[in-house]
């Protein structure tokens, strides 16, 4: 019947998810570039990016209005969107690796709330600080304060939820709820103490928004977020190892304590800075890493950079929706990410209920 009795069986070449992940990195970079251009072109005012580019190419001066709209409104907003989106998604991925759990998201488990409380404290009570300190911190007072808030909450959470290197999902989520409620209540007290102009800042900020983007905010957030993102490649191997459990990670040569401390610091810095400039924007940190794990697997070497790229892209897209859906007014972007992200989150829960032991 068959002639080739001894022919070796033909195997399809093994698919290597690392190659797919690298291709995805390229694709996501392109997607982010394209989205950025659209984000610049998109807005309530009549300013046209294309017309402005044609003007520039022809060597004509831009009108004053076009200059202001493009360089002082849309461009800082674009930069802030990229920074915040990248930091939310990458922090989510790092946090999930650290807690060994796909549900650990800074927004969900109270880290953002802790950072928010510290930021509000800085906004409302910052004026009471000695002038020397205000001088020293300048623009950075709110992000630095948010960083310490995020760091403190992450430390508390990790202490409460992790025993012998195993994180209990239920404890983590419940502790996160308690922490979030406490931070929310304290923030509420501070809001009562705020004056009118602070109050307007706080309300918009509380729902999460990129609308207040200024170059000052971009400058304040950039060094902190870039530093945190620059650390993440060094965490990749450690977070992969931690998936085996803390003990096994140590046996393959990982300094577990160092990885844990660095991860917590990086998450606190990135989340703190993002919260300080844009308020509580939820679900990016949980949805983005989850989609990427489905696509190319959980290897943190590619997951962390890809999460930053996709997070930035999705946040820009959400921001465009926020800007036009009720134009000429605009929606806080946190509402858009919640409306889009919450159903995805529920879907993750449904699919993974068994595996999470909930």
């Amino acid at each position: 019947m068959s002639l080739a009795v001894d022919a070796p069986s033909v195997h399809a070449p093994p698919m290597d998810r690392r190659v797919q992940a690298r291709r995805l990195t390229v694709a996501l970079s392109l997607l982010l570039a394209v989205t950025s251009v659209f984000s610049l072109a998109w807005g309530a005012s009549g300013t046209s990016l294309w017309a402005a580019m044609a003007d520039l190419a022809a060597g004509r001066e831009l009108s004053r209005l076009d200059r202001i709209v493009l360089f002082d409104i849309r461009l800082p907003r674009l930069c802030l969107g990229i920074l915040v989106g990248a930091s939310l998604a990458a922090s989510g991925a790092v946090m999930q690796g650290l807690f060994r759990n796909p549900l650990a998201d800074p927004g969900l488990i109270g880290v953002s709330a802790g950072a928010g409380l510290a930021a509000i404290t800085a906004i409302v009570l910052g004026a009471m600080l000695p002038p020397a300190i205000r001088e020293l911190t300048g623009n950075y007072l709110v992000p630095i304060s948010a960083f310490f808030g995020g760091w403190g909450s992450t430390l508390v959470l990790y202490r409460v939820a992790t025993r012998h290197g195993q994180t209990s999902v239920a404890t983590m989520l419940l502790a996160g709820i308690a922490l979030g409620a406490l931070a929310g209540a304290l923030s509420g007290i501070l809001v009562y103490m705020a004056d009118d102009s602070q109050l307007r800042d706080l309300t918009f900020w509380g729902m999460g928004s990129l609308a207040g983007a200024t170059w000052a905010k971009v400058m304040a957030a950039t060094p902190i977020i870039l530093a945190a993102l620059a650390v993440t490649p060094f965490l990749a191997r450690g977070l992969n190892g931690l998936a085996l459990g803390e003990a096994a990670a140590g046996h393959i040569g990982i300094s577990v304590q160092l990885i844990k401390n660095t991860s917590i610091l990086a998450v606190a810095a990135a989340t703190g800075a993002a919260v300080a400039v844009s308020g509580g924007i939820g679900f990016i940190g949980i949805v983005v890493p989850h989609l990427l794990r489905l696509a190319t697997g959980p290897d943190h070497h590619s997951l962390l950079p890809n999460a930053a790229l996709l997070g930035a892209t999705l946040l820009l897209a959400a921001d465009m929706i926020a800007r036009v859906i009720i134009a000429p007014a605009e929606l806080p972007i946190g509402i858009v990410t919640a409306v889009l992200g919450a159903p995805v989150f529920l879907w993750i829960l449904l699919k993974r209920r068994g595996a999470l032991g909930l």
Binding site: N240, A243, L244, H251, I252, G253, G297, P298, D299
Partner: protein
């Protein structure tokens, strides 16, 4: 590998009471004993997973003074069971062994290690979808990838295994025990917690018998596995080298010695 006066207290219970033991390179050392006698605890203490008092030397050096990456280069540890947090594939898990130590550059080791534990073709399966025994062999492949050479520059390397054959079928029990035997023959050291006394008798050079957090006996299999010690340790009469009543089927791994290898 030497351990001196190891004492461990977990919660409020003293689990190990001053354990001394020695394992030599070139040998398979089996740790046996009833459930809860402290075998896993002894391994976890000697590998630095839990706090203990006492001293542990590996190749003559105090492990407490070495960094994780230094230890990872000379010692691989297979835990009793491992749950993985994320949907990694089999080869991705095994590749984690590459990130450590001397084997890091050798990228075909994961595939060869999987072949050694008879899991060729499983590379791209999801770890979570495998059976318990298959998962255990994946973990062994990961440890082998990390500690591929039994000797490096004349220094022995070590495999520390907690019940490596506990959930395996008899064929794969042989696969794994042959592997450890081969590793020791080529100069490496193997310390394995064992459940099966027959396999222990067949493969171990040295047996450490534990009872209630103490060493009840240690020595060669024929010194330790006697009617008297086993009966005393396991609390029920266990006659050694005695065939069962006529007509009752029995199956001894040792009988393989009379056949072709599998």
């Amino acid at each position: 590998m030497q351990a001196f006066d190891i004492e461990v207290t977990l919660g409020r219970t003293r689990v190990l009471h001053g354990v001394d033991f020695t394992a030599k390179p070139g040998q398979v050392t089996a740790i046996v004993g009833p459930n809860g006698s402290g075998k896993t605890t002894l391994l976890r203490a000697t590998t630095g997973e839990i706090p203990f008092t006492g001293r542990v030397l590996l190749n003559g050096e105090d492990v407490a003074r070495q960094k994780p990456w230094q230890l990872a280069a000379i010692r691989g540890v297979q835990p009793q069971s491992t749950t993985i947090a994320f949907p990694f594939t089999v080869v991705e898990i095994v590749r984690l062994g590459l990130t450590a130590g001397l084997s890091a550059a050798n990228t075909d080791l994961p595939v060869r290690a999987l072949e050694k534990v008879d899991l060729t073709g499983f590379e791209n399966r999801m770890y979570q979808d495998l059976s318990g025994g298959e998962q255990q062999r994946v973990q062994l492949a990961r440890v082998l990838t990390q500690i591929w050479q039994p000797m490096v520059d004349g220094t022995p390397r070590w495999l520390i295994l907690d019940e490596p054959v506990a959930s395996l079928d008899i064929g794969h029990q042989f696969t794994v025990m042959d592997l450890t035997r081969d590793f020791a023959t080529r100069g490496g050291g193997v310390v394995a917690v064992m459940h099966d006394l027959n396999l222990t008798a067949m493969f171990a050079d040295r047996v450490v018998l534990m009872q209630d957090g103490r060493i009840a006996a240690q020595g060669t299999p024929s010194e330790v596995l006697t009617d008297a010690t086993l009966t005393q340790t396991y609390g029920c009469p266990i006659p050694v080298n005695t065939t069962p009543p006529v007509g009752m089927p029995f199956l001894l791994p040792q009988a393989r010695m009379t056949r072709e290898p599998c």
